[in-house]
Subunit: 168 residues, 2 copies
């Protein structure tokens, strides 16, 4: 075992990490989400051993992030397509891209996110759709959710719904 399982932790961050499983998983999802869907192409692109790739793809299918789709019957060949749950990983992957370009690319960016209508390079920001403001603003904080246990409540305070009622 690579690590203690995070599955019993109720923190949604820990659970996401448990589900995604290994760094390879995110790189596989990066490729699938950006058009590399076949085993041979994935293997070439990632440069990993076929048995490792087979195992990771199986785990991603089992976790409900990818689906197998047959594209050839003779010989039998599958490609991998992201499910809705898998597609929702894209913001995490693009946030990693932005961080990597800012902090781990002293020589300049090798891959960037662009708006293809304008050609502009985009530095994406995680924001609150209700206000348009970045969630790195100090107004945004973590709070205990509706099913928080005693430890989480103690740490983050009362759930926001109660707090809201208190204010109203």
């Amino acid at each position: 075992m690579r690590h203690k399982s995070f599955d019993r932790m109720t923190c949604p961050i820990a659970r996401s990490l448990e589900r995604v499983g290994e760094w390879w998983s995110l790189l596989i999802m990066r490729d699938v989400l950006h058009g590399v869907t076949r085993f041979d192409a994935l293997q070439k692109n990632l440069g990993i051993a076929p048995n490792t790739l087979t195992r990771r793809l199986g785990a991603l299918v089992e976790a409900g992030l990818l689906e197998r789709r047959r594209y050839s019957d003779h010989p039998p060949r599958d490609e991998y397509v992201a499910t809705a749950r898998g597609r929702d990983l894209n913001p995490i992957i693009l946030a990693l891209l932005a961080w990597g370009n800012k902090h781990c690319a002293p020589e300049g960016a090798s891959v960037v996110l662009i708006n293809r209508r304008t050609g502009a390079v985009v530095d994406p920001v995680l924001s609150d759709p209700a206000t348009g403001r970045p969630v790195t603003d100090p107004d945004y904080v973590l709070a205990a959710g509706p099913v928080a246990g005693p430890r989480t409540r103690q740490r983050y305070g009362v759930p926001p719904s109660r707090r809201k009622r208190g204010v109203a």
Copy 2:
């Protein structure tokens, strides 16, 4: 070694994953960024062995994500403070939170992001600050950056700056 090093990969996503190192690192950064900064509190909160925590904190200091700050001389005690590079991980952590709440919390959320002025629960979106639109919109695509090598160019096409000049 847990995995092949991603360091030689030029992809900024792979480099970010290499730098962050292990899942534990993101959980440690989650805690430090949300106010848990002392060894004992981190250890209790994460439930990991002290020697593992010492090793991971050392790696995060070395990677430039955390700084040690002495808060007691007798006995000598340090706390851990995020650097600018470490603080910039917050969007990644909050994107993991949003994904976990949506896909790995069938019983409801135990931790949520709120706007503390309004008490509203926030479902953050990664967006383009220039247009305000989510980068999951099909207009947003990856492209080869200024220092892309031949393989990356082949995969993602010409860098956007050249494309832009071509259009103009």
